[in-house]
Subunit: 149 residues, 2 copies
DNA sequence: TAATAATAGGTGCATATACACCTATTACAT
DNA sequence: ATGTAATAGGTGTATATGCACCTATTATTA
């Protein structure tokens, strides 16, 4: 019987690696969304942040970060371009430590303008992947989030 | 009957959004792997690149990028730290346009040293998520990759 | 063979990601 | 009241990501 080359020992590693697979899939889905949203001027991450701000109705930065399941410091920097574009305003509250993120009228317009592109992007993924499968995948991804808790 | 607030129209958007969900899950899994690999000195992305170089046996940059399902320019920059650490060498071939990525002995050592941490990280995810579920999720993520083709 | 196309790769730019570490403010315990 | 937590947030640094655009080299075609 043949001796396995050292490479062979690693050949299956990628298909066993959750990180490799989810990162690769994440890049592809992000590219589909960013590409489809392009005419709107928003990237999918920015759209998600604005929608989060809207849903959560002027949350603090930390609260928003929790809601978006992202690191606070990542969010802090991500807010900058949105603030520069005038889509959000940062407001200091009574507790001077806390900053609230408020959606501006312009920001709400950006959401509304982007929504159809988001729907189109979702349809592309749903069509390629299968609507039922997509529902299952998203359920799985939601339960991945629960690992954190 | 009550009028729906505008927020209500968006409340379900996150749980319907493939991009939001996969990006959030990707961040969490990446954090688990990076955290667990920390003692090795490699991040999961770097480990994946080195393993890819090993498996593909001195591929060109573009070939490696395809194998890793990542953008060529992202890979180019990701190779820098690995080259600086002496884990890989970049070699120009006959065709002077092409550059091959060669794993050094030091690079192979880094892989071997990191492997147990990778196994541990995978176990953490498998335990939290369920080994069977994880297999299914990875299958789904692999089929997401096929959207690109 | 000269012009053109195709291929391989790099760089500028903007955003994404998060750890380590820092300051400011508020709450709490003695 | 004061010293100490705890909380909220920002910054430095390093890597990740990919589009637009560029150069260099090789292949193809008129």
């Amino acid at each position: 019987m043949k001796t396995k080359s050292d490479q062979d020992k690693f050949v299956n590693l990628p298909s066993l690696c959750p990180a490799f697979n989810i990162r690769a899939a994440s890049r592809i889905i992000t590219q589909i969304f960013d590409d489809t949203l392009r005419p709107s001027g928003l990237q999918i991450t920015q759209f998600a942040v604005l929608v989060g701000v809207h849903i959560m109705n002027t949350p603090s930065i930390s609260t928003l970060a929790k809601g978006l399941v992202m690191d606070r410091t990542t969010l802090t920097r991500g807010l900058k371009p949105l603030e520069n574009e005038g889509f959000i305003k940062i407001i200091t509250g009574e507790d001077k430590r806390t900053r609230f993120v408020k959606l501006t009228v312009k920001g709400k317009s950006a959401i509304d303008k982007t929504l159809p592109y988001w729907e189109k992007a979702r349809e592309i993924v749903a069509k390629e992947f299968g609507e039922n499968n997509l529902g299952g995948l998203i359920k799985d991804l939601e339960s991945v989030r629960e690992i954190k808790n």
